[in-house]
């Protein structure tokens, strides 16, 4: 079974600075997707960025970028020019690219990490 680990329960950053959130995962599969979701105090989970494992190029979305290290099974999120609105809980998530895994049905289920609370100081 796949596992996702976020080792930083809390992180903080000054406004306009850069912060990196860590995520590692464990899988025996070769093809999969990785996601970062943001959950602000309003509670709705919002997709921040997505990475396909077969792509070597790191995904970027405006101020958000990832450092995807497939061999190390690492998927960190970098937030540049941090803004007050970036304050939220951030979740890393894994999804198999296969319809069913060796253990039975996966059907694209997401496996989440524990989450990292990001505080942005003005």
């Amino acid at each position: 079974a796949q596992t996702v680990t976020q080792s930083q329960p809390e992180m903080s950053v000054q406004e306009a600075e850069t912060v990196t959130l860590s995520c590692t995962y464990d899988t025996s599969e070769s093809d999969y997707y990785l996601f970062w979701y943001k959950q602000p105090p309003s509670r709705q989970m919002i997709l921040v960025i997505r990475q396909e494992a077969y792509k070597q190029q790191n995904a970027t979305e405006n101020r958000f970028s990832v450092n995807f290290q497939k061999a190390a099974k690492s998927f960190s999120l970098k937030i540049s020019d941090s803004q007050l609105g970036d304050a939220a809980m951030y979740f890393c998530a894994y999804r198999s690219a296969f319809m069913a895994n060796a253990g039975g049905t996966s059907y694209g289920k997401l496996t989440f990490g524990q989450g990292t609370i990001l505080t942005v100081h003005p």
Binding site: R43, R50, R95, Y107
Partner: protein
């Protein structure tokens, strides 16, 4: 924009009650999911459905059941609520199972007294 609506943001029930959590999506998505979110544990999948009347157990299905009579609606049922089911419950939907991201509702914070 995709809209996933959960019927209640806050809910308080008593031990032993049968509890229904409702979720509706407006984008004709095939796949719908129920997660529970607990501090330090992230989100864990309870049940999912990939078609009407179809359901599959997730990682923590014990004490829960689901119903999907119509494509847009996916209900989570706590057959006999217990205090250890006090949690945040999140519903999600997606167009297909693999390539598309899941879209989430605002969550229901359920307290079982």
């Amino acid at each position: 924009d995709v809209k996933v609506t959960q019927s209640s943001r806050y809910l308080v029930k008593r031990t032993g009650e049968k509890v229904f959590l409702e979720c509706v999506q407006d984008m004709d998505h095939e796949n719908m999911f129920w997660y529970r979110q607990d501090p330090g544990l992230g989100l864990r999948l309870i049940y999912f459905s990939y078609d009407v009347k179809m359901k599959e157990k997730g990682d923590i299905p014990e004490g829960y059941s689901v119903s999907r009579e119509k494509k847009e609606r996916f209900s989570l049922i706590l057959e006999s609520a217990s205090t250890n089911q006090t949690s945040m419950y999140l519903c999600a939907s997606s167009w297909d199972r693999i390539n598309q991201p899941q879209h989430f509702g605002d969550g229901t914070r359920l307290s079982i007294l």
